[in-house]
Every structure is written in C-alpha cells, then in structure tokens.
C-alpha cells in the first residue's frame, strides 16, 4: 500500500492599505497614474531623504490586528530588510522584524460544515516595492516607483491548514474581515491583496514538518486552490518516488496548470535586519488601542448569523455579508420594506446582476435603498407586471428615479381592472374555443393555458390572479 501524505499549509497575505498617503512620505497612495508621477525624494530613495511614519497606517494595521484577535504591541519599531533589487530604491525595505505591531491572533473558518481555528502568528507593517516592467523584445526593464512606499500589511498564519480548501476558506474569511475595515480595496486581481501559501507534506501520522515551498503571485481564489492542490500532489508524488522536495519559491503556470520553480533567487538570503535608525521606536497607548477597538465594525460572521436569524437562507446571507457596504445596504432596504427574505432574494439575484453588469461596486451603490425597497415591494405585491420587472430594474439603475414614477412613465403598471381584464378574457375564450370547452367539460387544469394566453395578450400587465378568477367565473359558472 502506498504511503499517504498530509499537507501542511501556512499563508502569508500582503494587504496594500488604501490610505490617502504613502507610509513614509506624503505622496498620494493611488492606483494607476503615469509611471513615476506619484513620487518624491523619499519614495524615490534619493540621497538624504528620510522616512516619516504615517500614523494612519499604524492605526489601520492595529485595526486589522484587533479584528483577528491579536495582541497589540505597546512598544514597537521598524527594521530594515536589506537586499538589492531595482524595485526597492533604497537598497532596503522598511519592515518590522522582531517586534511586529500585532501578534498571536486567530481566525475561525468553516470547511464542509466543520469549524476550524487558524492561528495568526503576526501582523506587521512595511512598505510596498515598486513595479518592474520587462520589455522582452528590446531586452529592457523599466521601473515604476508609484507603488513604492505604499503601506503594506503582512499577515502570517501558523502552519495550521491541511488542504487547499482550508487555505481558500481562510483566505475568503480573511478577505471578508479585512474588507469590513475599509482599509484596503482587498482586490486580488489588482494586487492590493496578495497571497503566498507555503506548503509542505509529511507522511500521515508523523509530526515533523517537511521541506516547504512557497508559491508567489496568485491573483484569485481559484488559482490559490488550483496551485495548492497541484503543489500538494507534486510534493507527495516526489516523496513517493523517493525524491526530495527542494526549498524554493514557485510560480503558478496558468497555461500548464502547474507550479514551476522561480528562476534565480535560489540562494538563501541574509536580509541583515536591524532597527531602522531613521524612525524612532513607536509607542502605542492603551487609549489608541481602545479607540481602534471601538471603531471595529461588526464582523461578517456575526452579521451573517444575525441575518440567518431573521429568516434569510444561509446562502443569501453569505452573499450579502461578503461586503460590509452591501450588508448595510440590505439593512437600509429593510427599513422601507421589512421583508428580509424577499429583499435578500432581490439583492442576490437581479439586483446583483445589474451591479455586476454595470461594474458597480457593492460598496458604492448609486440607488437610494428606499427605491430598491419600493421596487421590491411593487414586484412582490403586484405593482409591476411580472414581465416588466427587469425593464423597471434597468430603468432604476439608468435614471435613479423612484420606481413608482418609473412604473407610470413606462406604462407597465399591473392591470387590475375587472372590466378591462374581462374584455381580454372574452377575446381569449373566443380565440381558444377548444380549450375553453375542455374546461367547461371539467378539465380544470386546462384553465392555466387560458391564463397564459390572457397574460400574453395584456403584455404581462394583467394581474394573473384576477385573470384566473374571471376565467373561472366565466367557464365554470
């Protein structure tokens, strides 16, 4: 029987903070911009320039740490991580070594219905690097330092995860918690949230850790899942063959659907960490920590629980609390139309589709929640003909107008007038005499075909219940 291997996984997540300014200078910390336009002597690493701590970055990191249950250091410092690369203009990165701002936290994840605690080793603050652009056909590389010096939070877990699914569950839960703090865009594609899993495998039943590899540059949950799965498989297969796993950094090869060793960077680096002499040690007061704690939002997990208690299906709640703004929006809708289940169906259905199609963020919805609630009520209570719902929703997004006026403007209000419907029913009976006589003959189920025809004739506007009642009256006596 072949040896079974157990994977051991830890995650390092880098979160780019979305502050108005960079971490150690006053340059704007925004995405995009022409290369090397959001720079100054400090983030260019010009001779003589000095870093100055942006306290907002420290506070944001403390909030991240607190939301992960960490202890916050009252005395901390920055250190220099020394290495040469063209994207770090000073020849070192300002980071934190032995006194991180936050340590010893945890995060509870749910995988296949089971709860599991993942230990958080540390959360520290550092500065981002610049970006390199390689022009292969000209054999050139260019450096853009717009990103250099932007505040970057690093969150490191214990090696507590044992499957790719657990790693992804952790990452999703972490992303939800962090996005609630409003300190980052948490966008994996744009790189404001970056994940580097480290993976080793060991024979089942043993406790010594195997040699680990690290995977870099993973930009979606899907890729994290695939690459970790692949890496577990690759390492297990290597050990089964009696080979050794090399300690190295690997990349995900999307085309080949496999991890590949990164070129270069094989030698173990000595970063020669030492305390950053340009930045005095930081003292964090108890008051600052408590103020930060008081500013923490209700975490997604608790909001999800509260929604489920209101009678919303798990699945709906999960999607709604994914973003704090969306959960808030949902609550706001309820104060106009207190039908949690119905509103939640709209918000995970047609409404979400509109947002996605229009590229609108769930945090930044342009429609007043009263309008959305009214729309939901009209749809549910028959104020909008069924066939016109999509049209009205689209109009709501296009114009932002109150749905009741939209319904009037578009002429899509439901027809409830007995006489008007009666006339349409007469016409349908006349045109479908064969079916009508079946109903008269006792085959009552055939009546639905006539309801359908009447609805069609009314272009969806007739109230189907009234249509059915009138048909019954006319055919069954």
């Amino acid at each position: 029987m072949s040896q079974q291997y157990e994977p051991v996984i830890g995650l390092e997540v880098h979160l780019e903070l979305h502050l108005p300014q960079k971490m150690f200078c006053s340059c704007p910390a925004e995405f995009g911009g022409e290369p090397n336009t959001q720079v100054c002597p400090v983030c260019l690493g010009l001779p003589g320039s000095l870093p100055v701590v942006n306290r907002e970055g420290v506070l944001a990191t403390i909030r991240a740490g607190l939301s992960l249950g960490c202890e916050i250091a009252t005395f901390t410092k920055f250190d220099r991580k020394n290495y040469y690369y063209p994207d770090i203009p000073k020849g070192y990165q300002i980071s934190q070594y032995d006194l991180p701002l936050c340590r010893k936290g945890s995060l509870t994840i749910d995988v296949n219905g089971k709860s599991k605690v993942v230990g958080i080793t540390r959360v520290h603050l550092e500065e981002d690097t610049g970006k390199l652009a390689h022009v292969d056909d000209r054999n050139e590389s260019w450096v853009d330092l717009n990103r250099a010096g932007i505040a970057l939070v690093e969150i490191v877990t214990e090696p507590d995860m044992h499957s790719a699914e657990e790693a992804v569950a952790y990452l999703k839960e972490l992303k939800a918690i962090l996005s609630y703090l409003n300190i980052s865009d948490c966008n994996m594609e744009e790189g404001s949230l970056r994940c580097e899993p480290n993976i080793s495998v060991r024979p089942v039943g043993t406790s010594t850790l195997g040699t680990k590899t690290e995977i870099k540059n993973l930009n979606s949950f899907k890729v994290v899942l695939q690459s970790v799965q692949h890496e577990i498989h690759r390492q297990s297969a290597a050990l089964s063959r009696g080979e050794e796993v090399a300690q190295e950094t690997r990349l995900w090869d999307e085309a080949g659907q496999k991890t590949v060793a990164m070129r270069g960077k094989e030698t173990a680096q000595d970063y020669r960490y030492f305390p950053e002499p340009d930045i005095p040690p930081l003292e964090i007061s108890k008051e600052e920590i408590e103020t930060a704690r008081a500013s923490l939002p209700t975490p997604p997990k608790e909001r999800r629980k509260a929604l489920v208690e209101k009678g919303i299906p798990d699945y709906n709640a999960e999607i709604i609390v994914r973003s704090q703004g969306y959960a808030d929006y949902f609550e706001a809708c309820l104060s106009t139309y207190n039908e949690p289940h119905k509103v939640s169906n709209l918000l995970i259905g047609g409404f979400l589709q509109e947002l996605n199609q229009r590229g609108i963020s769930e945090e930044d919805i342009p429609i007043p929640p009263e309008h959305t609630a009214t729309y939901c009520r009209l749809s549910e209570e028959g104020g909008i003909g069924k066939a016109a719902r999509k049209q009205v929703l689209a109009a709501l997004f296009d114009t932002g107008k109150d749905p009741e006026s939209l319904v009037k403007e578009l002429g899509v209000s439901q027809v409830e007038d007995q006489d008007e419907i009666g006339k349409m029913v007469d016409q349908v009976i006349a045109e479908n005499e064969a079916i009508a006589s079946q109903v008269r003959g006792g085959k009552t189920s055939a009546i639905m075909a006539l309801v359908g025809q009447t609805m069609k004739l009314s272009k969806g506007r007739a109230n189907p219940q009234i249509v059915q009642e009138i048909l019954k009256k006319k055919l069954e006596g």
């Binding site: 001779p47 000595d270 020669r272 002499p277």
Partner: protein, 489 residues
C-alpha cells in the same frame, strides 16, 4: 573694502544691513579671496560665481526695497558637499555621485535661504564623510591653511579649510564621529556638533543615521551661535528631529559662567597626549577658573571601548545607508558589458566607491550578518548605552565636560592614509559624544610649537548648546587665538 573677507560673519551682516557694504561687494571680496588661495588649499568642489553673484544681487535689491532681512543676510556660507542643494551638484566626495544634482534642498539649506544666507560653495570632504583627513575625497586632497603639507582634518575638512583661509566666514559641516570638531580644531576654528535631533538631517546624505548631525563651523563663537539659531528646530520631514524650542543662541553669548562646575575626564588626558596639547588644556583650565568656574577630574570608564563601538555602529548603518547607490535610479552606473543584475550592482559599486568606503561597507555588512549580529552590532548597542550612562553619571556632578578635541594636531598628508587603524584612533576623543547624542563645541585654545592650532571641546547635556556657547564665548573674550590668520604662501 578690499579686506571684507577678513570680517566675522557678525560684522559682515552688520555692514550689509547698515548699508556700509553691498552683498555684491561682500561676495566679490570672498570670490577674490577664493581666487587667491583656493588653488593652494583645494577646499572647494563646486563654486558657481554667477549663482553667487545672482544671490547677492537679489539680496541687494531686497535691502533696496526696505524688506526685512534675515539673520544671515550678507553672509556667504560654505556647504559641505554631502548636504543637498537643489540644482547644485552634491557629490559626497564620491565618484558614484560625481554628477548628481539633487532636485531638492536639505532642510538646513531652506532655512539658510529663508534667513537670506548666501550659498557660496560646496566644500570638499572625505567620501561620504568617512575619514578624518579629507584625503578620502575622490576629487582632491584639501590642505590645511596653517601648513599646506598637512591635512585640514575630516571629514568636514573642506568647510574648515575654507573658513580658515577666509574664503567664507561660515560653513556647514556634518559630525558623525568628530567630523566637525576635529577639522575645526586642526584649522583653529569654532565648530559645533549639536544634540542629536537638534538639527534636521533631511537632505544630508546619511553616513550613520543614529550619529550624524549637521552643525556650524566659524572663526568665532558668535558665528556658530548665529548659524545654529537658523538651522536648529523640529522638521516634520525628519522623524528623529526633536520638537524643542529654538532660542536665539546669540543671547547665550551674554550669559555669565560664574559658578559653573566643569569636568575633565581622566581617560581623555592619557599620558600619550603630546605635551603641547596637555599644556594648552592646562592653560584653558586656568583661564576658566579665573572666570569663576571650578574644574575637577571625572571618570568616563567606558571610553576605551568608544572607538570600537563607534566603528561597529557607524559602519553597520553605513552599509545599509549606502545600499541605495546601486546605479539603478541615479548616479554612476557601470558602462562595462554586464550579464545580469547582480553584476551591474557590483561593478557599479566597485567603480563608484573608494577604498575607505568599501572597507566600511564590508565591515558593516559583516557586523549585521546572521551569526555575527549579536557579537558585533548588538554588543555595540549595549556598550553604547554604557557610554551614554558614563556621561549621565558625570553630569550629576558637573555642568559640562571639557577635553582636548583630538589627541594630535594636524598630521602630514599621506602620514596615516595607509594605516586605517591609526587613523581611526585619532577619533578617540570625539566619537563618544556622538554615541551619547550629546552637543559638543570645539574651540581654538592655542598653537603647538610648529604653529599648528590646538582645539578643546566642551561637551554638554542634551539641548544645552547655550551653556557651551556661554563657556566658549567667555573664554574667547579673554583670548585671541581665534583672531589669528594663517599665512598662506
């Protein structure tokens, strides 16, 4: 008018503001003086006559219009070439920055300009301020105006030589382990290293961040007081600068020293001290006692470890501070064909740095390396604390400490350059002050038998620059060493 260059900074300012001399007349006198002596002294790396004259004309126009004039109005100032000047080359005496023109001013330069000072010249230095003789400059060896065969001291040797030769009345230096005080003492000048954090380091090319301070060099005590009043203060761009009120330091010159107690550390008065220096110190003690102070012997027991501690701390920080000079973003980049990134870095740096800088980067890198960090860097930090505590203990009994600035007078050019260790040992009396972050002022207290200036330093508690100025001024009023000029052949 022809001898305007001989006036002190205070007298020049007075002449200018009173209308007795125009700024153009003042700078022309100093430019003429530079023409006479610079070829022999080699104190200057960059001097742009047009730029100097343009500043002077603008000042004259300002005075003409009756606008208020700053504390440095009419005073030409030399700037050590490791302090960034916008639009003016700033080389740090290194090939690697041979053509580097900063796009910004150091904080102190902005302050000087705001006080109507005239940026006159960029002065020579040991490469990246690493040295005690100015021989480590990649561009020229500055000579001591008192004896052209001798060094002016370092690393602010160009600034000191320029003031001593009358090219400028005031200059800025930087002091990491004595780099203002030692050249001031070798050149018969006043030089002050302020308390760590008193003056912003923003724009001064870092050698050792936890030790570097910018400070003034001048003929007389008043000149240093004037320049310090302008450059001191909290700078939001330097997190290590300290928010403490800045007095008008010139007022300290009027204070009495009567009743003060001064300490003379036994460890700084070793038997190997030349008799000329020992005698000069004895004379100072007599003068100061006559002025109403009492002088007593004190102990600074960890003094013998100061030089080793200093070189570990300074070189460790330097190894990291100088990492940015990799040719990627500015400065020299190798033109040799290279195969990869690592080769580009190493060739650029091999070509761009001189021997002493390389030596310090290598020892500093070693001290921070894994496996050696605890034994060197961490140990040095512990001893540094002991050295600071020595001073704290001493200051429980005395108001200030006095000691020779250097165990030697200016040595011959070439005498120590091939023996780094003996060169390092000349820093023995200055480095502890930087490790402890204290203010210290060196002032001229006499001449050796060979006619070479001797300096004495006064060391104070943090932010007690005023006390140092009071003592130095009290001494200077009684003596005339500072009024002498070297005869430049």
């Amino acid at each position: 008018m022809s001898e305007l260059w001989k006036l002190t900074s205070g007298d020049l300012h007075e002449r200018f503001t009173s209308g007795a001399a125009s700024a153009v007349e003042i700078v022309e006198s100093h430019l003429d003086r530079a023409d006479q002596v610079e070829a022999k002294i080699d104190a200057i790396l960059t001097l742009d006559r047009d730029h100097v004259l343009a500043q002077a004309k603008a000042l004259d126009a300002k005075r003409e219009k009756g606008e208020p004039l700053g504390m440095l109005a009419g005073i030409p100032i030399g700037i050590k070439d490791n302090i960034c000047t916008e639009g003016i080359k700033t080389t740090a005496g290194s090939r690697i920055l041979e053509s580097f023109v900063p796009p910004y001013n150091a904080h102190v330069i902005d302050k000087i300009l705001a006080a109507d000072g005239i940026i006159f010249a960029k002065t020579n230095l040991d490469e990246f301020a690493m040295g005690s003789s100015c021989e480590n400059s990649a561009f020229k060896v500055t000579k001591n105006p008192w004896d052209l065969t001798r060094v002016p001291g370092g690393s602010s040797g160009g600034s000191a030589a320029a003031v001593a030769a009358g090219i400028v009345p005031l200059a800025l230096g930087t002091d990491t382990g004595g780099s203002i005080r030692q050249p001031a003492s070798f050149c018969g000048l006043v030089g002050m290293k302020p308390t760590y954090g008193r003056v912003s380091r923003y724009g001064a090319l870092a050698f050792a961040s936890s030790l570097d301070q910018i400070g003034p060099i001048s003929k007389d005590v008043a000149g240093s007081a004037r320049l310090l009043s302008v450059i001191a203060g909290k700078d939001p761009n330097d997190g290590t600068s300290i928010d403490q009120e800045v007095p008008d330091y010139r007022e300290a010159l009027e204070e009495e020293m009567f009743g003060l107690t001064l300490g003379l550390p036994k460890e700084y008065m070793s038997d190997s001290l030349p008799s000329s220096i020992r005698e000069a110190v004895d004379d100072v003690v007599l003068t100061l006692e006559a002025l109403g102070t009492s002088v007593r012997a004190i102990d600074l027991p960890h003094t013998e470890y100061a030089v080793a501690t200093y070189y570990v701390v300074a070189n460790s920080e330097a190894s990291s501070n100088l990492a940015r000079y990799d040719g990627m973003h500015y400065g020299h980049r190798t033109k040799a064909p290279i195969k990869n990134l690592a080769e580009s870095f190493s060739r650029t740096r091999s070509e761009g740095f001189g021997d002493e800088v390389k030596r310090r980067i290598m020892t500093g890198t070693h001290a921070l390396s894994s496996g050696y960090y605890d034994a060197y860097y961490l140990k040095a930090l512990k001893v540094r604390r002991k050295i600071r505590e020595d001073f704290e203990t001493a200051f429980e009994d005395v108001d200030a400490v006095i000691a020779p600035t250097s165990p030697v007078t200016a040595f011959k050019i070439g005498e120590k350059i091939d023996d780094p260790l003996s060169m390092y040992l000349t820093d023995i009396l200055t480095v502890a002050v930087n490790l402890a972050g204290l203010p210290a002022l060196s002032l001229p207290v006499g001449f050796s038998g060979e006619g070479l200036p001797i300096g004495l330093q006064i060391i104070g508690q943090p932010f007690e620059e005023e006390l140092l100025l009071t003592l130095a001024q009290g001494y200077q009023v009684e003596t005339d060493h500072h009024k002498k000029w070297p005869q430049i052949p």
